[in-house]
């Protein structure tokens, strides 16, 4: 595997432009719609309306990522748009909330993890093998550390 196989390469190399993002987002939204229909009691039409609203929010966030010179990841912009349109004092927020209420949040993460499993490269497998058990133990404590550390501080100040 060449160095182009670095796991960060999808950020640097294969960067879809806005139009390609729009189509790819449509594809993953359709997968999410099927998932949502299987996972919840929502009808296909309810799910479709909810995902259409989420699609618009994501696209506005993406456009902001391209337009605003401030360097923030697209997911940060998308969250901000999602927050702004559903603030209690935003006109129409009740309508947005009603539409997206038929989409289960956890179901939306399922296709993402499926892509993630398929995206594991040979290089990543060889890193995991060569780093060995020590790095595995350290990684478990790294994750436990950030989680418990944050929970302790949050508990102190709540």
């Amino acid at each position: 595997m060449s160095t182009a196989e670095l796991p960060v390469d999808y950020e640097a190399e294969a960067k879809p432009d806005l139009a390609e993002h729009a189509v790819l987002l449509l594809v993953v939204s359709l997968v999410a719609l099927v998932g949502n229909t299987v996972a919840t009691d929502a009808t296909v039409l309810q799910g479709l309306a909810g995902l259409a609203v989420l699609y618009v929010i994501a696209m506005v966030g993406l456009v902001l990522t391209y337009v605003v010179p401030l360097k923030l990841p697209s997911v940060a912009w998308i969250s901000l748009v999602g927050i702004l349109v559903t603030l209690p004092w935003t006109p129409g927020s009740a309508w947005v909330l009603d539409k997206v209420s038929h989409v289960n949040f956890l179901t939306l993460a399922t296709p993402c993890l499926a892509y993630a499993g398929i995206a594991i490269t040979n290089r990543e497998i060889s890193i995991a093998k060569s780093s060995g058990w020590k790095i595995f133990i350290v990684a478990v404590f790294v994750m436990t550390g950030t989680y418990v550390g944050s929970a302790i501080i949050a508990d102190l100040f709540l």
């Binding site: 960060v8 999808y10 294969a14 879809p16 432009d17 390609e20 939204s29 997968v31 099927v34 998932g35 299987v38 989420l54 699609y55 929010i57 994501a58 966030g61 990841p73 997911v75 940060a76 998308i78 969250s79 999602g82 927050i83 927020s93 997206v100 989409v103 949040f105 956890l106 993460a109 399922t110 993402c112 993890l113 499926a114 892509y115 993630a116 499993g117 398929i118 995206a119 594991i120 890193i127 995991a128 790095i135 133990i137 350290v138 790294v142 994750m143 436990t144 550390g145 950030t146 989680y147 418990v148 944050s150 929970a151 302790i152 501080i153 949050a154 508990d155 102190l156 100040f157 709540l158």
Partner: protein
């Protein structure tokens, strides 16, 4: 751009993900009771495992169905597939803004808890496991993409520090969702922390890890779902915004100082991971 078109029209990839999603959602959440609590198995975890099973790099027999082309194509789709999820999370945070502002000080200060990686993992790496400079890269952060960028920028990815951060990144990619789902479900049922605190701690700066973490929490305490998701989501946005700066200005310098104090005095020669 021919390359992106490839990604777009790779029907095998999208069809596989569709089938995986349907199977994972049809199975649903399974709770496995163990000693101090129960571990929740979530559809997104099955999806990841099924993705791995279809991956020709993991199971070579899959080469008949998928090749390196699909593996390569799947990478940019990870970020795109998380976008509807992130948008939905925004719509959970918005209506709860008053509660989030009320929790403001705790929410902001718990970002410092991300330094817990150093506190807990650094001594284990250096004192217990005898790791060299890899430990600096491995423990200064939770090793997601922005953190890799910091190490790549400062030391290069072929350095020991680079091997450390890449090692934890890969383990996190492979096992992170499982580890956070287990941590969250165990701690939620143990009663050691308030659920609000555990929810805030789910804001790790990775969409899928936050999904696993907050998903496990909401299944453990369904009555608090709205609150858990709002706090976890807000904390995650905050981590996206502050994580990079906390790492550059605090976490990495602190880890370096600690290494000067506790680390090997002779220059490390073994270049693990290369």
């Amino acid at each position: 751009m021919e390359k992106t078109k490839d990604i777009l029209f790779d029907w095998r990839l999208h069809l596989s993900v569709l089938v995986i999603t349907v199977i994972a959602e049809a199975v649903g959440v399974i709770a496995v009771p163990i000693g101090i609590g129960s571990i929740l198995l979530l559809p997104l975890l099955y999806a990841f495992v099924m993705g791995l099973i279809l991956n020709p790099n993991v199971i070579s027999k899959m080469k008949g169905w998928m090749g390196q082309r699909e593996v390569r194509a799947a990478s940019p789709l990870i970020v795109i597939a998380i976008m509807p999820f992130i948008a939905k999370f925004g719509t959970i945070i918005g209506p709860s803004m008053e509660k989030i502002i009320a929790a403001g000080p705790a929410l902001i200060l718990q970002e410092l808890g991300n330094l817990g990686t150093i506190l807990l993992a650094f001594p284990i790496a250096v004192l217990l496991l005898g790791m060299g400079r890899e430990a600096v890269g491995a423990t200064f952060s939770v090793a997601r993409e922005p953190n890799i960028a910091i190490i790549a920028d400062k030391y290069g990815l072929k350095s020991p520090e680079g091997a450390g951060v890449m090692g934890v990144y890969v383990i996190g990619t492979l096992f992170g969702t499982f580890i956070f789902a287990i941590l969250a479900s165990l701690l939620a049922t143990s009663g050691w922390f308030s659920i609000e605190a555990l929810a805030m701690a789910c804001g790790i700066g990775s969409g899928s890890m936050m999904a696993a973490c907050s998903g496990a929490l909401t299944h453990a305490v369904p009555a608090m779902e709205e609150q858990i998701l709002a706090l976890a989501g807000a904390s995650n946005v905050l981590t996206y915004a502050t994580g990079l700066y906390l790492c550059i200005f605090v976490a990495l310098p602190v880890t370096e100082k600690l290494y000067d104090l506790l680390g090997r005095k002779e220059p490390a020669t073994n270049n693990a991971g290369e």
